[in-house]
Each structure stands twice: as C-alpha cells, then as structure tokens.
Amino acid sequence: MRRIIVILMTALTLTSIYQTCWADEISQSERRHLFREGAKLWPVYCAQCHNARPGSEFAPYQWDAIIMHMRTQANLPAQNARAILEFLKASH
C-alpha cells in the first residue's frame, strides 16, 4: 500500500512538472498546422462512434473539457486530440 502511495505521489509530481513545461503557448504556424490536421481528423475520428458534432455546439472552454473526456474515452492520441480541439474551437 505504501509503495502504491509513493508511486502515485511520484507520478503526480512528474505530471505537474511535465504539464508546466507542456503548457507553453503554441505559435501561429503550429496552430494552423493543427487546424488543418483537425479538419481531416474530426469527421473520421468522431464519426467512428457517433456523428461528428459541429464546433458551434459548445463554447471553446466546454470543448476543452469535452476533448479531455474524449481523449480518455476513445484513447485518442494526444496530438490528434489537440488538432481536433483546435479545429472545433476555430469554428467560433
């Protein structure tokens, strides 16, 4: 039990450090690249289980939560999830 707690605490610490580094702002060119990939992925990845829902259905901050949920639910690769998120948010 103690070992599990130590492992979990270590994982959480590493997560915090990693996420702090990862949270840097992305450049405009990266954003455009993500958008283009997202436009290709959105109709296929979403439609594999259900109809792809338009970006206008939710506010950008809601898409942040929904894409996190879908990344877990469908095990989406993180980079592809970011691309779909960028595409959906740009619909506003």
Partner: protein, 510 residues
C-alpha cells in the same frame, strides 16, 4: 540787407517745415534771435551780420544732426521691431505646424479606435475575457436523454419509458478532469430511480498515459465505453452479449492506465487500456449455479472475491489519406477471482469499420467461470451490425422534401447471440425499460436476435430510432429454479417460442 536775410531765413525755416519738427522753445528762441538781429542790424549792420549768420547756420547744422540721430534711432527701433515681428511670425508658423500635426495624429488615432470598436474584440481576447468572467471553476454538461415506446408481442406489453443521463465534466486544469454520469430512469410502478454508473478522476500524465480512477464503464470491447449512450448506439437496444445476459460487468470500480499513440501516418494509431478493479461478481445466492447473471457493478469487493485485472489493445492500420476508411481491430480480456479460488476469465475480439456513409462493427467474446461445485460456466456472445447512411443517395425525380427526408435516414441490421449452459428462472425480468423490450425469448440459454433499424437523424445528435426485433432462440440448455429454496431444481430447456418486439426512441445527445 538784414531784412532780406530775415526774409530768406524765415523762408528757409518755413520751407523746411522747421516749426513742425522742432520743439516749441527752440522755435521761439530762434524767432527772437532773428527779430533781435534785425533790430540790432539797423545799428550794427556790417560786422554783426556775418557772425549771426554763422550762428544760425551752426544752429541749423545742429538741428540737422539731431534730426539724423533721431532718424537713425527710429530706423534702429523699426529694425528691432521688424525682427521681433519676424520672430513672432516664425513662432506662429511652428505653432500652426504643431497644431496641424496633432490634428492629423488625433484623426488617425480616432479612426483606428473607430475601426477597433467596429471590429469588436478578437476571438482570443473575447475568450480570455469571457473565461475570466466565468471564473476558474467551470462545469460542462453533456449527456443524453431518451424517450421510448416499447411493444412486445409475447408479453402483450406496450408502454412508454424515459431515461436521462447527464454527464458532468469539471476540468480543473490541463491535466486533471473530473467526470460524473448520473442515470435517472422510471422503473415500472415507481418513481425515478437514480444510479451512478460513472464517477472518475482523470489525470493526464503525458501524451501517452492517462490515469483514470473511480467507477467507470468497463473498457472491455467497444460497447460499454463507446457505444452505450442512447444517441451513439444506432439501435434502441444493446446487442445480446451486452444486454440482459451480459458476459462481462458493465461498470467496475478501480484504477486504469490508458493512452494512445500514432505509430505511422496520420490515422495509423494504437491504443491500450490496463486496469485493476473490484472485478466481476455474480448473483450467487442462495448458492452458485451455472447461468447466474453478472452483477452490474461490484461497488464494494467482498473478501471472498479477488481483484479484477483487465487489458485492452486496439490497432488502427489504415492511414487517413489512403481513402480506404478507418478500421479498428481490438482485443480485450478481464480476469479475476469471483469467489475463493474460483476464477473468472473472459476475452474478446472486436472490429469497427467506417467508410463514408457505411459503418460496421462486430465483436466476439467469451467468458469462463470456474464453479465450486459443478462444471464450468462457459458463455459465448457475438454481434455484428451494419448501417448505411442515405445522405449521399441520389433520388431521381423526387421532390426536394422527399429527398431531404431520405437523406436523413439510416437503415441498419444487426445479428447477435449468446450461448450459455443454463438460465436461472428467478432472474428472468420481463418488465420493459429504456433500451430493453422485455421479451422472454431473450432469457434463454441460446438466444438469437435479428434487429432491423431505421434511424431518422434530425440533427447530428438528435435521432428518432425505430427498431424491429425478431427473437429466434435456439433450443437446448437447462433452467435452474430456486423458487425460495436453498437448492435449485434443474430441468432441460426445450424449444422456446419466437417473439418479436418493436421499439421507437427519440434520443437526444446534448
């Protein structure tokens, strides 16, 4: 001579405008001198004339010199004044220039401000402002609601049913998400019944690892996690291996490690899920027998049960740009001791394929339960379904409204079945509910079902679903019945009558 001189002098003085320029006392003095000179001249006309004349000339010279100085002084004064005027004019010109420049700048700034106001804030600025306004604790509500009409011929049942499943998402930051699903349905003869099928914390460790802890949909195969929401499932009912006689528990309580990665071109992915949970348990009272139903969730693990260990891997071989569609191939397993020294093992394979309007999916799974006092409880289940969206079908000569109606249709067909050695009579539940027709023909050791569906899509997440089920159970197997006794009676199950059912559901994903 003196008179002549006087006249000349007077004339000279007047001709030069002397009196206008000289001061008063000087004029009077000069006149006096001239008059006195004239009177004296009568006496001493000879000698005195020349000296007086010189005197007068000196005076005149002096006056001329004064005049020159005065003129010089005036000219200097005029010069200075002209310089001052020029300096003032320069200054004025500079002020005018500065004023014009300021006016131009003001005008430009005003125009820019006007443009900015007309254009409004940029989306990113607005998003930032709106996010600030909402605060950091932001909840997102998603989920689904379904209203059903259900008819079953064998039980002569026709009823309405309702189910509501909101999903609450709380995103704390980029790496932490909380999720809860509350299910509210209306059981027969009672008020609303609430359950909590999902309540998890999701920690995003990195791009390839997510920890999920809590009560979650069983990540076995594709069904419970990805296909069970009302508006996601193309049919009203679940396929038999995931329906009334499920082979694996629908939800479980534990911890998962999961993630995905792109291994090749865009679309070529791989994903995995591993989990430890409370594991499967069965309705094993008053004693374990073959065919008992799997409990829906093992919320609190009793001491006689071991942990459940599960794993799933899925592989996506087709690149997105190949134009061949998207294919998923998966394999899953769940294992654990459901009772002291008695194992439960299950495994399954699944596929899903999507290409344009065509979608197909299918699974095969089987479960083994080691029994303490009899032969093993083996079960197998499968389903395959195909649907085709008519949104790209050209309808010649059809009215626009008719064509629009047809473009919203999606016909479907599904075949599913389960094989098990027995069924427990006491567990049979024929009361219909959302997503379940209540047909007794499903509660057999070898149920088979052919389901025809016709979905009408009002919006991407709003669908009116119609399903016609043919229940075609095969003969064989046994029926156990406790009927209040501690030991069951066992009888062979003969032929079971076929049945059909019709379900119509309006499902809204929000």
């Amino acid at each position: 001579m003196a008179a002549r001189l006087f006249i000349d002098s007077a004339h000279f003085i007047h001709s030069k405008g002397f009196f206008w320029k000289m001061r008063g006392w000087a004029s009077i003095l000069l006149s006096g001198l001239l008059l006195s000179g004239w009177s004296v001249g009568e006496v001493r006309a000879g000698d005195s004339d020349s000296s007086e004349l010189r005197q007068i000339r000196r005076e005149i010279q002096k006056i001329k010199a004064d005049e020159d100085r005065q003129r010089q002084f005036d000219e200097n004064l005029i010069g200075e004044l002209e310089h001052k005027v020029e300096a003032l004019e320069d200054k004025n010109r500079q002020i005018q220039k500065t004023s014009e420049k300021l006016q131009t700048q003001s005008s430009q700034q005003f125009q820019e401000l006007h443009k900015q106001i007309s254009a409004g804030p940029s989306p990113s600025e607005f998003a930032r402002t709106f996010r600030d306004y909402l605060g950091t604790h932001q909840f997102t509500l998603a989920g689904a609601v379904a209203g059903d009409f259900i008819y079953d011929r064998q039980t002569a049942t026709n009823t309405f049913a309702l189910d509501f499943e909101p999903i609450v998402l709380y995103r704390v930051n980029d790496w932490l998400l909380f999720e809860g699903t509350i299910e509210a349905n209306l059981p027969a003869g009672g008020s609303a019944e609430f359950t909590l099928p999902v309540a998890t914390a999701q920690i995003f460790l990195n791009d390839h690892m997510v920890v999920q802890a809590g009560i979650f949909d069983q990540p076995f195969g594709d069904w419970y996690e990805d296909q069970s929401p009302f508006w996601v499932n193309r049919f009203v009912t679940a396929p038999l291996p995931y329906g009334a006689e499920a082979l694996v528990p629908p939800t479980d309580l534990g911890v998962q490690l999961r993630g995905g990665a792109q291994w090749g071109l865009l679309g070529q992915d791989f994903d995995y899920t591993m989990w430890v949970s409370n594991g499967p348990s069965f309705v094993d009272e008053p004693q374990p027998v073959v065919g008992q139903a799997v409990n829906e969730v093992n919320t609190i693990k009793i001491n006689t049960n071991g942990q459940g260990y599960g794993a799933r891997a899925r592989f996506y071989p087709l690149p997105l740009d190949s134009g061949l569609g998207r294919l998923e191939l998966g394999v899953s397993t769940l294992n654990g001791k459901w009772l002291d020294r008695n194992w439960y093992n299950s495994w399954g394979i699944d596929f899903a394929y999507l290409r344009g309007p065509l979608q197909a999916r299918g699974e095969y799974l089987q479960a083994y339960r080691h029994m303490p006092n009899s032969n093993a409880d083996n079960r197998q289940g499968w389903f395959i379904q195909i649907g085709y969206f008519l949104n790209q079908v050209q309808v010649p000569f059809a009215h626009e409204r008719v064509e629009n109606f047809i473009h919203r249709l999606e016909p479907l067909i599904r075949y599913s079945g389960v094989n098990q050695r027995a069924i427990v009579q006491d567990e049979i539940e024929t009361v219909p509910e959302t997503g379940f027709s209540g047909s007794p023909s499903i509660w057999t050791p070898h149920p088979r079902e052919v389901a025809f569906g016709l979905d009408y899509w009002l919006a991407p997440s709003i669908v009116w679903q119609n399903e016609f089920d043919l229940e075609l159970p095969e003969a064989g197997g046994r029926t156990f019945s406790f009927n209040g006794n501690p030991t069951p009676t066992s009888m062979p199950r003969g032929a079971t009558p076929n049945d059909f059912a019709f379900l119509s559901q309006l499902a809204i994903g929000f």
